[in-house]
Amino acid sequence: MSSQHTAPIIEPGHSYATVTDRISSIVLGKRTPRGWWVGLGVAICLFLLLQLAVTVLLVKGVGIWGINIPVGWGFAIVNFVWWIGIGHAGTLISAILLLLRQKWRTSINRFAEAMTLFAVSCAGMFPLLHMGRPWLFYWLTPYPNTMGTWPQFRSPLVWDVFAVSTYATVSLLFWYVGLLPDLATLRDRAKARAAQVVYGAMAMGWRGSAVHWHRYETASLLLAGLATPLVVSVHTVVSFDFAVGIIPGWHTTIFPPYFVAGAIYSGFAMVMTLAIPLRKYYKLEDFITMRHLDNMAKVMLATGLIVAYGYMMETFMAFYSGDINETYMIHNRWTGPYAVAYWSLIACNIVIPQLMWLRRVRNSVPVLFVISLIVNVGMWLERFVIVVTSLHRDFIPSSWGMYYPTKWDWFTYVGTIGLFLTLFLLFIRFLPVIAIFEMRGLVPEPGEQKKA
C-alpha cells in the first residue's frame, strides 16, 4: 500500500468547531482578501468582454463569427461541448462517488458542483447564441403554439435541449439541497443583520431537527440517484449531435463512451485547476489533502486512457472500414491544414498526462497544476478537431473550405471563462466552498484518531 492511499482525507487535530470555523470564516470574515479582489477584477474584465461580444453579435448577427459553409459549427459548438464536459466531474463526484460511499469526495464536492453549474451556464449560452435569434429559443421546447408544429424529435439537437436542461435543473437542486445545512450554519454564525436575513431566507427554515436530517438524507439520495444516469446520458446525447450525422469523423459508434470519458477527464482537470489555487490561497490543505490530488490524478489517468483508446479506435476504424472518405478524414487530421491542432491534442491529452503514473509527479502540486491546465487545453483541442476538421473537408472536394475564428469568436470564448471565474469567485466569497457539515462527519471520534 502506498503512503498516499492511507494518507488522511482530513489532517489530524481537527474538531467540529475548528472545521466549522475554518470554512465559514472564508465567508463571514470581515476582510475580503486583496487577492480575491484582484481575481474578481480580472474575471469581470473578461466578463465585460463577453458582454461586448454578445452585444455586437446580437446587433450584427452570427456573420461576425468565422462560421460559414462548410464549417457552420465552429467555436460555438467547440466551446459548448468543452464547457458541458467540464461540468461532468461535479456530478460524478457528487452523485456516483456519494453512492459508492467514497468519503474523500466530501471536501471537493461542493465546489465541484458549483463548477458544474457555472460550466453549464457557460455551455448553454453557446447553442443559444449560435441560433442567431436567441430570443426565439423557446421554439426548441414542445408547447402549444400558433405554428401548429412540434420540434423535430428525430433530431439529436432536440434531445440535447432536454438533456442539458435536465442536467442544469438536477445539478442546481442537488447543489442547493446540499447547501441547506451550511446556509443555516452561516445564518447562525453571521453577526450582521443583513447576512442573517439573506442566509436565513436561503436556508429555508432549516433547524437541524431529526426530521430535517431524515428528509435531507432521503432527498440527497434520491437526487444522487437521478443525477447518476445524467453523468453518462448528457454527454452521450451531446455525442449524438455528431454521431447521428453522416460526416466522416462524426459518424462513429464509439462516440458516446469516448465523449463521456473525455467529459470526466476534462472535468477532473478543471476541478484540479480550481482546487490547487483554492487550497493554497485559503490554506485549506488540511481539508483538500494530497490524498485528494492523488485520487483525482488517478481518475484523470484512467479516463485519459479511455480517451486515448477512443482516438486509437477512430483511426483503426477509418482504415479498417476501407472507406475512402473515412480514410481521408484521418489523413487530413494527421497532415492537413489543422494537423497542428491534432498533434497538440495528442500531446496534451495522451502523452503528457502519462507522467501521472509516477508517484513523484502525483506528489508535486505545481506539476499537477500544470498537467491539469494542459489537459484542459487538450480537451478543448479535441473538440476543435472533431468539429472543424470533420466539417471542413467532407465528401466532395468542391465543397471543401477553411475555418478561421475571428476576434469575436475568441472574445466570446475568453469571455465565458470570465463569466465562469466571476461566478466562481462570488461563490467562494459568499457560500462555503467545502461542505461544513459533511466535513464534521469526517472528524474522528476521540480515541479514534489513528484510524482516520
Binding site: 405554428m147 408544429t149 436575513v197 436565513g200 429555508m204 427554515g205
Partner: protein, 229 residues
C-alpha cells in the same frame, strides 16, 4: 438567541412559492389566449378603407366574379388589386355623382392609386402563391371567409402557421371542385346538399375530398421549406 424571522415568514414563503407557480401558469395561459385572440390577430375586425368598398354588394348581391378585379389570382402568387380603371369601367356610367365615390374619381383624374388598407397580409418570410391553391381546388372562401357577406372586408382567419398546416396536413378536408373555387356562396357537401364533382354527386366531404385529391394530384406539403424558402 432572538429569532431572525417573524412567525408570519412561514406563511409568506409558502404563499409566494405557490403563488408564483400560479402566476406563471395564469400568465402562460393568458399569453396563449392572447396570441390567438382578435386583439392580436385582427380576425373578424372590419377595417376602415378610403372608400367603403363592399364585397357584399359587388361579389354577393351583384355576383361579379372574383377575377374581374383580382385578375392575376389564377396564374400569379399575388391575387392582384384592381387599378382605379377597373372601378371606372362601371363607375364612369353609374353612380357618377356619388359623393362616396369621389376618392375613386379623384384617383382616376390624378392617376394616383387609392391606398387601400391591407386586410390579409403574410409576413415576408413566408412564400405563398395564390395560383397553385386556386388550381388545386382551394376556394376563395376557404381562406377569406364569407366574402359575400362582408360590407367592409375583414380577415376571416388568423393566417397563423398552425392554421395553414391544418389544411396542408389534410387537404382532403377542404378541397372543392375546380368549378366551385370562385363560388362565393359555396357550401361543402352535406346530407342536405349534394355537390357534383368528377361526374358524380357527393353528400360527404371525406368521400369527395379523397377523389379530388387524387384527381388534382394534391400533395400534403408539410416540409418547412415549402413555405420558408
Amino acid at each position: 438567541m432572538a429569532q431572525i424571522f417573524h412567525r408570519s415568514t412561514n406563511t409568506i414563503s409558502r404563499v409566494s412559492i405557490y403563488g408564483s407557480l400560479l402566476v406563471l401558469l395564469v400568465l402562460s395561459f393568458a399569453l396563449y389566449g392572447l396570441s390567438g385572440s382578435p386583439y392580436y390577430t385582427d380576425v373578424n375586425l372590419a377595417k376602415d378603407q378610403p372608400v367603403p368598398f363592399s364585397h357584399r354588394h359587388h361579389a354577393g348581391e351583384l355576383g361579379i366574379d372574383c377575377r374581374y378585379c383580382h385578375t392575376s389570382v389564377e396564374d400569379s402568387s399575388f391575387a392582384g388589386l384592381p387599378p382605379t380603371k377597373t372601378c371606372m369601367t362601371c363607375h364612369s356610367q353609374i353612380w357618377t355623382n356619388s359623393e362616396m365615390l369621389e376618392p375613386v374619381r379623384a384617383s382616376y383624374r390624378s392617376g394616383k392609386s387609392l391606398e387601400w388598407v391591407r386586410v390579409n397580409a403574410l409576413p415576408d418570410f413566408v412564400y405563398f402563391n395564390h395560383s397553385i391553391h386556386i388550381n388545386k381546388g382551394v376556394g376563395c372562401t376557404t381562406c377569406h371567409g364569407p366574402i359575400a357577406e362582408m360590407a367592409l372586408t375583414w380577415k376571416a382567419n388568423t393566417l397563423q402557421m398552425g392554421w395553414c398546416t391544418e389544411c396542408h396536413r389534410q387537404p382532403e378536408k377542404y378541397v372543392r371542385p375546380r368549378d366551385q373555387v370562385f363560388n362565393a356562396r359555396y357550401e361543402p357537401p352535406s346530407k342536405f346538399h349534394a355537390v357534383s364533382a368528377q361526374g358524380r354527386e357527393y353528400t360527404d366531404q371525406d368521400a369527395m375530398g379523397a377523389v379530388l385529391v387524387k384527381a388534382y394530384k394534391v400533395q400534403s406539403l408539410t416540409n418547412c421549406t415549402t413555405c420558408h424558402r
